[in-house]
Symmetry: C2
Subunit: 258 residues, 2 copies
């Protein structure tokens, strides 16, 4: 296995995929992939002395506002050792761009590679705040006037199917918010088992606009766009309390026969 | 840290608790505790050469029919290293009894200690089969004419509250069945966030009677019995397709103030 990268800018950890992190395909669920990314960026912060308490005293909290990226055809299987990595790419006063990857420890072939945009939310005023210097300089990433924007998902419009979900207690995470990763269960479940057994994600764009509240009902809307039998795209929106909380676009590839 | 026990009869693994295995209390969810137990018994089997293929050629599959056990007041917190362990206690022609524990690696204080009863299900005939010798003798546990029975949960009767759930695609696990651990989300979610933030499980008895099917609706019924403000008990049943699929009884203790 190659060495794990761990410095101010970059952090990797090794992880053995548990069966309960995988779907019936044997490969990790989207929800778990995003949970692992949160785990590694937390570990990165903690390794630099930026634990939860250090962040909290600034009155702020990191909030992810979107992801975009790519899933390889070959995905790891439960029991496999994988590397989960992250790197601080760049930041400005209000935004921080971070890269994430899942790869195999031997050849470092990517399973997943994504970019995420973070902002800092003032928890009392519930609005954006400037990123405090002491929370960003330790990552040793460049301060840039302009950051590349993440791509926007295609708009869903009025032609969609939908399914309702109730937010459950176990969707709430240690930060007392609905876990971002759980949105993927609501996004994907309505596509149905047949679809999800036939296709796997190839590219993803997701944008979180509003927070879903504890105990709320959510409506998961989607439309499937067949571009060919080999390749199709789904457009998604998660609505709650009369607002579009999340928009996403996923392109799919046929699962390799196992 | 003390050494991990790994021999024919007993198997332990070390695990670092991820934040996504924990509820907003910071401690592992019941669903994750039971997932970890499945993980360690799978690892135990594989370590003895009894992988999935070896089991499948016999036409059977291991099925857990019940658990009983105890949760300590002190529970591990995300980021903690824990030991997950299992031991084959005894078996007879049709039943195999197994012990599970979660403990801290340094002092070996138990966080959780449970017993589970397993049977072998013939997958084509969908009924109980004799445990094939080659699948049980490697564990080097005693063959006993009589095995201790697990305690039966108190009957729920007609006085209950209930909530409905739809089985989601992501509730299906690698064995193409509804994951046993997911039953705990249905069992506990109806108790509500206020209850689950105030109390934690102390003892548990659960009995799986019928399998919940993919795509089905389940009704999670329960009654709370206050024995005192310090101590109360909940009685549960999971119904689906007109049958009681699972019965459980949990006693609760006040969560220590954090």
């Amino acid at each position: 296995m190659t060495e794990l990268k761990q410095d101010a800018n970059c952090y990797e950890m090794q992880h053995q995929l548990a069966y309960y992190e995988c779907t019936d395909s044997g490969h990790p669920s989207m929800s778990m992939v995003f949970s692992m990314m949160t785990m590694v960026s937390d570990a990165h912060s903690i390794a630099l002395g930026l634990n939860h308490d250090v962040v909290t005293v600034t009155g702020g909290a990191w909030v992810v506002i979107g992801y975009e990226g790519h899933f390889a055809k070959e995905q790891p299987t439960f029991g496999d050792q994988i590397i989960i990595g992250t790197r601080a790419i760049a930041y400005n006063q209000f935004f921080a761009l971070r890269e994430f990857w899942l790869c195999d420890p031997e050849h470092r072939h990517d399973f997943v590679r994504l970019r995420a945009m973070f902002v800092m939310m003032n928890l009392t005023k519930r609005r954006l705040m400037r990123i405090p210097e002491q929370l960003i300089t330790p990552f040793n990433s460049p301060l840039k006037k302009r950051l590349p924007r993440l791509e926007t998902p295609t708009e869903l419009g009025d032609d969609f199917t939908s399914q309702d979900y109730r937010v459950r207690y176990f969707d709430i995470d240690i930060n007392h918010h609905v876990n971002n990763a759980r949105y993927f269960d609501w996004l994907l479940d309505p596509l149905g088992a047949d679809f999800l057994r036939r296709y796997q994600p190839e590219t993803l764009k997701i944008r979180y606009e509003e927070e879903v509240q504890e105990g709320a009902m959510v409506e998961s809307r989607y439309r499937i766009e067949h571009r060919s039998d080999q390749q199709l795209t789904t457009i998604h929106e998660i609505w709650s309390a009369g607002k579009c909380c999340t928009a996403a676009e996923i392109s799919w590839q046929l699962l390799p026969k196992s």
